[in-house]
């Protein structure tokens, strides 16, 4: 490949018209206009009042019935919902795109609180695999332990487990913060792309394997580093952020963050630049 600077590549691609393309049909871009906000409808969102509180017992409901009930209660304006007897059921509290205080009095199974955007959730128990997968925003606090793939592919928000978590925590993470009060298993931060993971305890083998970007902070022992994961300098700014984050998360407030290990991507596996394949072809 020709040794061109990024700016040169970009201008060459632009000269080919690749950056002035007008999208049409289904790919047409639509931008949010504040002047038209009242016409903007976000499916599945309601005006709720946090002081309006209710409880539901899901002991004899399946996950669809329970999730539908939560939706109906939000539609009726309830802003604080307590779920009794979740008993390890799967897929509870998924797809909530609303501000909401959601409290589970018990444990959840797989995929609990997945694909949500906005709620504040407290789980007074344990969660199974893939808790909060694809979370966009909000906060989830788990009082006990969590299974594997904790916070898989989250884009934003805070995901906090006060106990220990299984393998592949933060796999494919694209944003947000994951905080673990106990230990974490193998392949934590596997292929993470952005965001931060904080582990106060020990972590298993292959930490940060093939991570593209993002930062992992570990308070205890590290089993081993994964491919392209390297230790970086823990700066004063990092320590300030960690103290603030742990305080807000109500976990490890007195933890000595100065002894934490910071892990980032070595970026030696990177073999691409900012150009799309078609642009790259044109720029060569």
């Amino acid at each position: 490949m020709a040794n061109l600077k990024a700016s040169e590549k970009k201008s060459k691609a632009q000269s080919m018209g690749l950056h002035t393309e007008v999208l049409t049909g289904k790919t047409q871009q639509k931008f949010f206009n504040p002047d038209e906000a009242e016409n903007f409808y976000y499916f599945g969102t309601y005006d709720v009042d946090f002081n309006k509180r209710t409880e539901i017992d899901v002991k004899n409901m399946d996950c669809r019935e329970a999730n539908k009930k939560i939706d109906e209660l939000m539609k009726d304006g309830y802003g604080t919902i307590v779920i009794k007897n979740p008993q390890g059921k799967h897929s509870l509290g998924v797809g909530i795109l609303n501000k909401l205080n959601l409290i589970f009095e018990g444990s959840l199974g797989y995929f609990g609180c997945g694909s949500m955007d906005g709620p504040i959730v407290r789980i007074n128990g344990r969660v199974g695999w893939s808790c909060a997968e694809n979370m966009m925003a909000g906060k989830v606090v788990i009082e006990k332990n969590a299974g594997s793939c904790f916070g898989a592919a989250i884009r934003g928000g805070d995901l906090i487990c006060k106990g220990s978590v299984g393998a592949r925590t933060g796999i494919d993470q694209k944003g947000g913060t994951i905080i673990i009060g106990g230990d974490a298993g193998a392949f934590t931060g596997f292929m993470m792309q952005r965001g931060r993971i904080i582990i106060l305890g020990d972590v298993g083998i292959n930490l940060g394997d093939s991570m593209y970007d993002g930062t992992i902070f570990v308070g205890g022992k590290i089993g081993s580093f994964g491919s392209d994961a390297v230790e970086a300098e823990l700066t004063d700014s990092d320590q300030d952020w960690l103290k603030r984050k742990l305080k807000v998360a109500e976990i490890g407030e007195n933890f000595d963050v100065s002894k934490m290990t910071k892990v980032v991507a070595g970026k030696k596996l990177w073999n691409y630049d900012a150009l799309e394949p078609t642009e790259k072809k044109g720029a060569i």
């Binding site: 008993q87 444990s107 199974g109 344990r126 332990n145 106990g163 978590v165 299984g166 392949f187 083998i205």
Partner: protein, 313 residues
């Protein structure tokens, strides 16, 4: 994807048949091609219980070839004559289904020789041999199999079971779990996962005289552990060696007359949730399995990668 469950009561007995049925039924969405139970009941410790089959269940969905019941009768007759030749005394005989039998036997000699002789009869397979263990497996979900064999009243100390979604081999009893740890009495194994060096290991073990009854990769674990124990390793040592010797993704349980163990591969790719207390250990592929016997709020956790644990009764 399959589901596995197990429990051990420490210091007492319970209705393990009923408990395991509840746990496996909670996992039926993980597979209901077949379900199997390895129950460790109360026996007088004198006689062997041999569970064996003389044919396959050829119900709808089975991958077995249909045979006439008279063929089963013929095979049973040959087994009976071989037992006599081996010097085994049949104390009690139950023919639970045309193809499934339970014998209580007095036998003092080598179990390997015994098993080879009995299984030399075409279509005959010993599902389990033990003074405490009984393996019951058949097509259908946990409830169906439990009802078919009246397992809900079985009292014992511990049990492991498997709800199977057939992927690597046929829908039949011979490929169903649990697998007996031939030729050791009272050893059984259930597995969730895939083993990728099955044939390499199988060839080596067959050359050492070990027997395989199916082409199900999970059977390898039972045979692998049995071979290690045959060479003097303890159960726990054999399980630890299996983390290196077996390649693939797996979580498996193994049970003996007085213990129950679990092992998880070094990738931790297969799920397991564990509950431990002073008098009970319960574990399963999903928490809902444990919840079926412990509905109250409990402390559970996922064992980490490469972990091996063994509990005694």
């Amino acid at each position: 994807m399959c589901g596995i469950a197990g429990l051990i009561h420490r210091g007492n007995t319970s209705n393990v048949g009923f408990e395991l049925q509840g746990m496996l039924q909670a996992l039926k969405h993980r597979g209901e091609d077949s379900t199997g139970y390895a129950l460790y009941g109360k026996t007088d410790g004198q006689n062997f219980i041999m569970r064996f089959k003389v044919g396959e269940n050829v119900a709808e969905g089975s991958s077995s070839v249909k045979e006439d019941v008279s063929v089963y009768d013929e095979r049973k007759k040959i087994v009976d004559s071989y037992l006599s030749e081996l010097g085994a005394k049949v104390i009690k005989e139950d023919r639970i289904l045309p193809y499934s039998l339970r014998y209580e036997i007095q036998y003092e000699k080598d179990l390997m020789e015994f098993s080879q002789k009995i299984e030399s009869v075409e279509g005959v397979e010993i599902l389990s041999m033990g003074k405490s263990l009984e393996v019951i497996k058949d097509l259908g979900n946990a409830e169906v199999v439990c009802n078919r064999y009246n397992l809900d009243k079985v009292v014992g100390t511990h049990a492991i079971g498997h709800a199977r979604m057939a992927t690597e081999s046929g829908v039949d009893i011979k490929s169903a779990h649990p697998f007996w740890g031939y030729p050791f009495s009272d050893v059984s194994v259930v597995h969730n996962g895939q083993l990728t060096n099955y044939w390499n290991n199988r060839r080596v073990l067959e050359n050492k005289g070990m027997r395989f009854m199916s082409e199900c990769d999970s059977e390898l674990i039972a045979v692998y552990l049995a071979e290690k124990m045959r060479n003097g390793a303890t159960l726990e040592e054999g399980m630890k060696e299996s983390l290196v010797g077996l390649d693939g993704v797996f979580t498996y349980f193994v049970a003996t007359k007085d213990s129950l163990g679990m092992a998880k591969d070094t990738m931790a790719a297969k799920p397991l949730v564990l509950y431990e207390s002073d008098d009970l250990v319960a574990m399963g592929s999903e928490e809902i399995a444990i919840r079926s016997i412990l509905p109250q709020e409990i402390e559970t956790y996922d064992p980490f990668d490469g972990e091996v644990k063994v509990w005694q009764i």
